[in-house]
């Protein structure tokens, strides 16, 4: 099998700009959510992925509509890239009727089967066996569709992680396992939750490749994902891609994150995926100032409209409290 990290790839200027748009939109969406929490307009626990956007954009960009994603609690951006309207995601976060769950949930626990999005429970790691089941059916159907399953480094310590990756290895399922290693599980730094440097190491215990990459480099993430997708589509089974990254905000918006140093945060903020990519796009003259303005405007407008919609969306109807339990 060809090495993952050196996969050949080519992106048109349009594609590069689209990637940039997604980075910006996802960042802006989370930043707005953060504000809305401080304004007590969003009342649920919000887990932003600010600082980790390159992972979502790099892994989702090469996906088909038929491919399935199994996101974790920070991956709101993957819902957007897979086709959920921003306004619907915003209504979901507000717990409004117009959200994916009709107000039953205000987080990412609700999926959209037609778009290939699985909404997990809160239980970390629990999305991974489900991902294996989805991939198993792609194999049964003899399609070359792929499942991309996300998890944090902390979730890689759950029993479900182990059982799911082992099964996926045995059946050489078409899955790309994406570890978002942001160095912490809530307050617990990785050194207190595992005795290894790279979560990627664990893949070898399941009979497939694991690679550790810079998760803040959207092109590197895209490149390795392309390689892993090709393997999966080609029937060569799963790959684990560990993306080293960092979450800028607290675990949730209510967490002050005193457990980490300003130096550490500063170091990681200097690795912000967006400026790096911007520099590249400008060097290639793909991102002109006009284009930049245009994209920023589009992003701002999209978010404003989404918030507008969500704020004015109706609350669920109390009569619905008891519906949708059984078919």
């Amino acid at each position: 099998m060809p090495p993952i990290k050196r996969t050949k790839f080519k992106l048109t200027p349009e594609q590069l700009l689209e990637m940039f748009y997604w980075l910006r939109l996802i960042r802006a969406f989370d930043e707005r959510l953060s504000v809305l929490v401080r304004q007590a307009k969003v009342r649920s626990g919000v887990y932003t992925g600010i600082g980790q956007e390159a992972i979502i954009v790099g892994t989702c960009f090469g996906l088909r509509r038929e491919d399935y994603i199994c996101p974790l609690h920070r991956d709101l951006g993957s819902f957007l890239m897979k086709g959920v309207e921003p306004r619907v995601m915003m209504a979901q976060m507000f717990g409004k009727q117009g959200g994916l769950s009709k107000g039953r949930d205000s987080a990412l626990h609700s999926g959209v089967s037609e778009l290939g999005i699985f909404g997990n429970t809160s239980m970390l790691g629990a999305n991974l066996p489900v991902a294996a089941g989805l991939a198993l059916t792609f194999k049964m159907d003899r399609t070359d569709n792929v499942v991309v399953a996300y998890f944090g480094e902390g979730a890689s310590n759950t029993g479900d992680f182990h059982e799911a990756l082992n099964f996926s290895g045995v059946h050489r399922l078409p899955i790309v396992f994406v570890c978002e290693n942001n160095q912490y599980a809530y307050s617990v730094p990785i050194e207190r939750s595992m005795a290894i440097d790279d979560v990627a190491e664990r893949a070898h215990g399941y009979g497939f490749d694991g690679v550790a990459i810079n998760g803040n480099d959207v092109l590197a993430v895209y490149q390795s994902t392309l390689g892993a997708l090709a393997r999966a589509r080609g029937g060569e089974g799963p790959t684990l891609i560990e993306c080293k990254t960092y979450r800028w905000h607290g675990h949730s918006e209510h967490d002050k994150a005193f457990y980490r140093s300003d130096e550490e945060l500063a170091m990681w903020k200097s690795r912000d995926p967006i400026p790096t990519f911007t520099t590249y796009l400008q060097a290639r003259h793909v991102l002109t100032d006009d284009k930049m303005k245009e994209i920023e405007a589009r992003v701002a407008q999209t978010i404003d409209e989404a918030v507008e919609y969500a704020m004015n969306a109706p609350d669920p109807n109390p009569q619905d409290a008891m519906t949708d339990l059984y078919t």
């Binding site: 959200g99 994916l100 769950s101 009709k102 039953r104 949930d105 626990h109 609700s110 999926g111 959209v112 089967s113 699985f118 909404g119 997990n120 429970t121 809160s122 239980m123 629990a126 991974l128 066996p129 489900v130 991902a131 294996a132 089941g133 989805l134 991939a135 198993l136 059916t137 792609f138 049964m140 159907d141 029993g159 479900d160 059982e163 799911a164 082992n166 099964f167 045995v170 519906t323 949708d324 339990l325 059984y326 078919t327």
Partner: protein
């Protein structure tokens, strides 16, 4: 037209027929493949349907259920086997949180048509980890359906109904009945609807509610009382969630007395709910307290001296019925 089969063969036949009828039905679990399952419930399936539809899994109960949920989301109808119902505790989270809540959290846009087969029950020298009756845990959890056949006829008909049901169903098959319960089974496509009890013996004096392996001693006890001129109406619940309220109330309205018999422990066994509901809905009609004959609140010992002392039996049921008759 119908033929005689054992309870175990009825299960096997239901699986085979459903797999022939619907290419989306498949089975997975430990040793369910060429070996045919620890009890032989899947014997012949691997031969007929092959590796892709009869899947030997690693020892990973949690993944077995999670994989089933994933497959169900893509239109498949997995039938997962727990080698013993006792091990269902290892899959607990995937059942009560992943499967039971999915339709709710998706706002009704998806459901989880999976069946979890769980060989349960004692009287077979199984000791404390091969004799459990875990049904109450699942009856308590909204979003799940729970069935527990007592006859070969229902073993087949209920399993077919469970496989065709759109919601997650936990199917408890009683090990004691596998070879002991023999009887006619429906040929072909006849199903036993979920949620409908069966009156196994008519009577005007006392209502006896039971299910699973307790049906036989209950019927024997009823015959005992008939000798004293007390006619006991024996109702086999068959479905524990949702249980058949109409059948229960109709009988109690006639008899004004009720006894509940189950092999599960007493405290918060299903008998507690039945008793509470009868009290709430039929207090006026009761001429005596609703009583329970159950396994006592302890574990299942291996020694037959101890297990037989604990198991409900004809004599214990007769004594309780007499108490009610004389009340």
């Amino acid at each position: 037209m119908s033929k005689e089969l054992s309870y175990l063969d009825a299960i096997r036949e239901a699986l085979a027929e459903e797999m022939r009828r619907d290419a989306k039905v498949f089975v997975l679990g430990e040793d369910v493949g060429a070996y045919g399952g620890a009890f032989g419930a899947t014997q012949g399936l691997h031969e007929e349907f092959g590796d892709a539809r009869v899947i030997d899994t690693p020892i990973s109960e949690s993944a077995i259920v999670g994989i089933s949920v994933g497959a169900a989301l893509r239109g498949y109808r997995p039938v997962a086997e727990m080698q013993f119902a006792d091990f269902i505790s290892c899959a607990f989270d995937q059942i009560v949180n992943q499967a039971a809540t999915l339709r709710f959290r998706y706002g009704g846009r998806a459901s989880v048509p999976i069946v979890i087969r769980a060989p349960s029950g004692g009287g077979v020298s199984g000791g404390l980890y091969h004799s459990q009756n875990p049904e109450a845990w699942f009856v308590h959890r909204p979003g799940l359906k729970v069935v527990a056949p007592a006859t070969a006829f229902d073993a087949k008909g209920l399993l077919k109904a469970a496989i065709r049901d759109e919601d997650p169903v936990v199917y408890f098959e009683h090990k004691y009945l596998y070879r002991r319960a023999k009887g006619p089974v429906p040929e072909g496509d006849e199903i036993v609807p979920i949620g409908v009890a069966a009156t196994r013996r008519e009577g005007d004096d006392i209502t006896l509610l039971t299910y699973g392996a307790m049906l036989t001693p209950s019927l024997e006890a009823a015959e005992e009382l008939a000798k004293d001129g007390v006619e006991v109406e024996v109702i086999d619940l068959r479905t524990l969630q949702p249980f058949d309220r109409d059948a229960i109330f109709a009988s109690v309205d006639k008899t004004n007395r009720a006894l509940i018999v189950h092999e599960d422990v007493k405290t918060l066994g299903i008998g507690a709910e039945l008793s509470a509901v009868i009290m709430e809905e039929r207090f006026e009609q009761l001429d005596a307290p609703v009583l329970r004959v159950t396994y006592p609140d302890t574990h299942s010992p291996f020694s037959q001296v101890l297990e037989q002392a604990n198991l409900p039996n004809t004599k214990k049921i007769v004594d309780a019925l007499r108490r009610l008759a004389e009340y």
